[in-house]
Structures are given as C-alpha cells and as structure tokens.
C-alpha cells in the first residue's frame, strides 16, 4: 500500500511540474477567462461602431422623422440620416460614410415599398432592423388611418398563447429541457475531452516508462497491478486539479459578470439555474468513464515497444470514445429515443449517454444504479485482465500489432 502512494505521488507531482502541463493549463485558463467575459469583449469592440444608413423619402410626406424614431426603437446603434436622391446617397456609400441607403416609396396597393441598397448585403442585421422599423411604421400609420384605439392596436399585436406540456407527470417541461440541454452539452464536452486526454496521457506515460526501459526496474520493485492503478489514480488527481482550476476560475469569472449572465448567452446554456444533481452525475460519470478508459489505455500502452506506436495502438479506444460522443450529440435533440436508452447500458458508452439521459430526462433511479453497477463491474473486470496484460506487456519488446501483442502479453504473464 505504501508503494502505491509513492507511485501515485510521483506520477502526480512529476506530471504537475512538466512544462507542457503548465502551459496547456495556463492557455486553457486564459480561454475560460475570455469565454466567460465574452459579452464584455463584444461590447468593447462594438461600442463605437455606429452604423449609418441614409433614407431617401420619395413619399412627399414627413415620413422621415417618424421612421427615424421607429428605427431608434428597434436598434439604437443604427442611425438614420436624410438624403436627397440616389446620386447623393451613392457618393456617401463610396465615401464610406454610410453602409447603405433605403428608398421609401408609396405603393398604392401595399402602402409602402422599401428598397435597401448597400455594397454588401451579407449583413442581414441592418436590413432586418430597417424592415422591422418600416413594418412598425406601417402598422402605426394604418392603425391611424383606420382610427383604431390604443387598446385595439395592442390586441392586434398580441401573439397567441402557445404552451408545450409533457403528459408524463415527472417529465421535465420544455423550458427545463432547453436549460438542461445547454448544461449537458457543455458537460458532455468536458467528459469527452477529459476521458480522451487523460486516458491518452496514461497510455503515453506507460509507454514512455516501457520504451525508456525504466519499467524493468519499476516492475522488479512494485507489483504491476499496484503500479498501474497508482498511475491511473495519480493522473485522476491531476485531472481533478486541472478541473478544479478551470471550474473555479470559470465560476468566479461568471459570478463577476452575474448581471450579464442572466441574459442572452448564459441563460441559453442553462447556467441561470445550475442543476446540482446534474453536476454531481457529471462528476460520477466522468470519473467512472475515466477509470474505464484509463485502464484500457494502460493495457494498450503496456504492449507497445515504440512511443510512436502509442497513437496507433489506442486508436480503437479513441474510436469508442468518439462514437459514444457522437451518439450523445445526436441524442441531445431526442434523449428519449430507444437507441439512446439501449446504448446507455453499454459500459463503454454509459459515461456519456447515461449522463445525457440523467441530465435531460427523469430516469428512474434503478436504471442509473444498474448502469453504474455494470460500469463498475466492467472496470473491475478490465482491471483484472488489464493487470495481466500489463504484467506481460511491459516485458515484451518487438512489433506491436494490437491483438497479437495482447495475446502474447497474456501468455507471458501466465503462471506456467
């Protein structure tokens, strides 16, 4: 047991001190700071970017002033100036004083006709806002002509009430589901990257020890099983350190921007009301998923004899993780589909897909318990087989063709 801790702390500390780890952590933290402050960044870049549009009023009326008010109501960053004719407006466009101009004409059958001309029409924001303002203006004028009262106008503009209600009693409401989707989406990414990154790290670590032949000394002083699990736990601790840093920073940064958080972007991702149980399940499934794939990675890493072969060796494992992630991504839109239910019980997919179900639906507890039990059993089974492969694998040098090497490794570790 004592040696377990020595290997664990060595793995943890030596990884923690590597340049690549420190650099990637710092970059990631900078990225988190940028992402959590994104609204501030957008504001700073956008504030002095007032866009001007010229309006040519061909209706002989005094539409310009009321239109200007309407546009200001729609988008206060869009300013309207008046122009006499298209020639003048064209010159202003060429001088880059305005982004484009709008012609407003009278049309007997339709009321108004607006034509927006600009060099670039890819920015639909401006034309949309202009249309919206024009529509408002038109309904206002029409209402005036029809002599509608204020109340009648309100009645006319109120959209119908539309609600979605789940028939199942404990099912989440549409609103809940949308909120959950954002959170689950982000956490799925975290699980995906975490499992892939740290499992690869384990495989590399084992392969490095093996190719540098330090393994032979290690294995003569520490049982391979102890070594393997100490290493897996050491990297797990490392990942926790990194995650705590990332989430801690993210949380603090979001809290700073709390006012901005309740609106738009963050509300869409469901951060407004973070669901504690979803977070807990994410931690459980991320850890179990990591353990499963790390055990697999340690075995695969132990049978290669050249560091260049590691990527090739673990590619089937990588594929499994990617497939699980793809299924989970498809499942986000329809988490109650039967293929999601089935795959959530397959241990290699459980960490992501069962988490998706738990996060999006109200899954009966026994289903979660079964999937976790199957997952833990698989980890133990893989651990037992893995320890054998590891024991033989680390003594084996030569070509590394996955299946054959694994068979050879098992043979080497046999009792007789």
């Amino acid at each position: 047991m004592n040696k377990f801790w020595i290997v664990l702390s060595h793995t943890y500390l030596s990884k923690l001190k590597t340049k690549s780890f420190i650099i990637s952590t710092v970059i990631m933290m900078a990225l988190i700071l940028v992402l959590t402050n994104i609204s501030k960044f957008i504001d700073t870049f956008d504030s002095d970017d007032q866009e001007k549009v010229a309006v040519i009023d061909l209706t002989e009326g005094s539409l310009f002033d009321s239109y200007k008010t309407a546009v200001a109501g729609v988008n206060d960053e869009l300013s309207i100036i008046s122009a006499q004719d298209e020639k003048e407006a064209d010159e202003m466009v060429n001088a880059e004083e305005i982004v484009g101009y709008l012609l407003i004409e009278k049309d007997d059958s339709l009321g108004f006709k607006g034509t927006y001309k600009a060099n670039q029409i890819s920015d639909s924001m401006v034309s949309n806002d202009l249309l919206l303002a024009l529509t408002q203006l038109k309904s206002q004028i029409t209402a005036n002509e029809l002599k509608l009262t204020e109340q009648q106008i309100t009645q006319l503009n109120t959209p119908p009430v539309f609600e979605t209600i789940a028939l199942q009693e404990n099912a989440k409401t549409e609103e809940d589901l949308n909120q959950a989707r954002g959170l689950v989406y982000v956490l799925l990414f975290v699980i995906y990257f975490g499992v892939l990154m740290y499992a690869t790290m384990i495989a590399m670590e084992v392969a490095t020890e093996k190719t540098s032949r330090v393994m032979e000394i290690l294995i003569s002083s520490v049982p391979p099983v102890t070594q393997m699990f100490a290493k897996i736990m050491g990297v797990a601790l490392l990942s926790l350190t990194q995650m705590i840093l990332f989430f801690g920073l993210g949380y603090l940064s979001i809290k700073q921007n709390l006012t901005g958080m309740n609106e738009g972007f963050f509300a869409f991702f469901g951060f407004g009301s973070i669901n504690i149980s979803t977070i807990i399940y994410a931690i459980i499934f991320a850890l179990l998923g990591y353990l499963l794939y790390a055990t697999l990675a340690a075995c695969l890493g132990s049978v290669v004899s050249k560091i260049e072969d590691v990527q090739q060796m673990i590619s089937p494992m990588t594929m499994l993780v990617v497939i699980a992630f793809m299924i989970a991504m498809f499942g986000l839109g329809n988490p109650s589909a039967s293929y999601i239910t089935i795959t959530s019980f397959i241990p290699f997919f459980t960490p992501m897909i069962m988490f998706l179900r738990v996060g999006m639906l109200d899954v009966p507890f026994w289903e979660i318990a079964i999937s976790i039990a199957v997952l833990i059993l698989t980890i133990i089974l893989l651990g037992i087989i893995g320890a054998k492969i590891y024991r033989g694998g680390v003594l084996m040098y030569g070509s590394s063709k996955s299946l054959k090497s694994i068979k050879n490794a098992l043979q080497l570790s046999k009792k007789n």
Binding site: S14, S212, V214, E216, S220
Partner: protein, 299 residues
C-alpha cells in the same frame, strides 16, 4: 542465505528459453553468469526477480520465494539501461530508492556519497538525457545498489564504459560484495568474470554447459596452454601427439595440449634443437573454455 536455483525450466510456447538450470549461489559471493546472445541469461534473471514464473522448478533466496515483499532486499541492473530521460538524477534516484523501501533523506545522502565517489557530484540536478551513455550507466548502477541490497543482479554492468570507469565501477561492486552483498552478474567479458568471481555458470541455448567453482572448472577442463618462442622452426609441433590446437604468433606458437605430461615431453624434444627463448605452461583462460564448450555445442 544462499540463492538456490532448483531445476528450473522456462518455456515460451514451444520454445525452451531455459532448460533444467540447477545451481546454488553461496552467500556474500560474486557469481558469474556467462553465455552468448540469447543464451537465456536475462530470462533467468527475470525468473530470479519473480517477474517471470518458471515453467518448472523453483528459486529460493534464504529459503523463501522472491516476491514483492522481499523487493527491498534485492537490487537489479537491467541489461537495457532504463531511466526516465526527462527526470533529474535527484528525483529519479530518490523515487527508485523509495520504491525499494528507503527513506527520502537516507536516499539523498547515499546518492550524494555515490556521485562523489564516481566523481560526478554536479550531475545531481541534471536530467538523465543530458548525460553521456557511460555516465547514465553510473547513475543506473547507483539506482540498483543505493539501498544496499542483500542480493544484487547485474546484467552486463560494465559494457560500454571506458577502462577508467570500468575499474571505478568494478571497485564499487567489489566493495559491495565485501560488505556482504551476494552478487550475480552476467558479462560477455571473460576477464571480468575470471577476475571477480569464484563460481560461475556458462549457458548455451538455455542449458548450462559448465557450472561450478572457477578453479575446479579450469582443473577439470584438463587442457593447458603452452606458449613457446624459439630461434628455430617450430612447425613440427603442429602434429605433435597431444596437441589439440595450434595458434601461430609473431615469434612462436601457442599450443593447447591435453595435459602437463605432453608439455613435459615437448620441452625435452625442444631443448636439443636449439635455443628456446620462452616456454610457459599456462592455465586455460575462461575464453578458451567458453569457446571450447559453446563452440562444441555449435558443431
């Protein structure tokens, strides 16, 4: 506390790597393990260390099987040198020593002692990949014996070193033996074994060809070498009865003879012919025995 290797055989599938190996290594002695490439030396070492289980037979140290509970008593220098290339010497040795049951402080003290002794104290904060191959080997040797093991296994400890360093490391290993460590070491260099070991074993293709005390092996080998320098033609000796091998040198011949009696009659025949500058009866060297024994198996 002898190391007993009791009739061990190791098979990998149909291939027999070690066949019926049987010997005892006395306590506090240095035991030489010789053999060509692929003779089964490393496999035997791995079985002694408990990394591989013998197909048949058993290995006991001090009456007990060697496993992870005894690992603090055992030191190992693998043939393929293995250290973490990116780790500093200090972190590396302290880590490996702690895995052998040493305390951090003691390990550091011992490491400083050994680096001083090998005259490379400045390497403590260097990464292993920055060191030359010979210096890496010093570090490797320190790693294998820093915890003062009772049983030390050295797989080709002196290969790839310059003569000064060979002497330095040899001295360290001999001191360790004198302080009570039983040492098993393998080598291609016969003179090292001849110089340092009392007992030895020559392996060939998994089977022991010769095993026992060095002196007895030499005696029972029977054949001796006669080195002759003379002013006259020696070619008649090539067909002399009792001569098994002839090697011409610049000024004379080295002959392998079946025994002392052959040498005796030879000198009587030589003296009347002229002036004999040199006539020396030598013990066979280990190289002779090795070539003879292993070569015989080849034929």
């Amino acid at each position: 506390m002898a190391l007993q290797i009791k009739e061990i055989t190791k098979k990998f599938g149909d291939f027999t790597a070690v066949n019926n190996l049987n010997f005892t290594i006395p306590e506090k002695e240095m035991f030489g393990f010789l053999g060509g490439n692929g003779a089964g030396k490393t496999t035997t070492f791995r079985m002694i260390l408990g990394l591989l289980d013998p197909t048949e037979g058993e290995i006991v140290w001090d009456g007990k099987k060697i496993d992870y509970t005894t690992s603090s008593l055992i030191g190992y220098l693998p043939e393929e040198r293995g250290l973490y290339p990116k780790l500093k010497v200090r972190d590396q040795i302290v880590y490996l020593a702690r895995l052998r049951g040493m305390r951090k402080g003691d390990a550091l003290k011992e490491l400083e002692y050994w680096l001083d002794r090998f005259m490379v104290p400045e390497y403590i904060d260097k990464r292993v990949e920055e060191l030359s191959k010979g210096n890496q080997q010093k570090i490797q040797l320190i790693a294998s014996m820093i915890h003062k093991p009772e049983l030390l296994i050295l797989d080709e400890p002196f290969s790839g070193l310059d003569p000064v360093n060979v002497e330095m490391l040899k001295k360290a290993v001999i001191d360790l033996r004198d302080s009570g460590t039983t040492i098993v070491f393998s080598s291609h260099r016969m003179e090292h074994v001849e110089e340092m070991c009392e007992h030895l074993c020559i392996m060939h293709k998994g089977s022991p060809v010769v095993a026992g005390k060095l002196k007895e092996i030499k005696r029972s080998f029977g054949k001796k070498n006669v080195s002759i320098k003379a002013d006259f033609d020696l070619s008649f000796l090539d067909a002399y009865p009792g001569v098994t091998k002839v090697k011409d040198t610049m000024e004379g011949k080295i002959l392998q003879v079946t025994g002392e009696d052959v040498a005796e009659s030879m000198i009587r025949d030589l003296v009347p012919k002229g002036f004999v500058r040199k006539f020396e009866l030598e013990e066979p060297s280990l190289t002779d025995i090795f070539i003879e024994k292993v070569g015989a198996v080849y034929e």
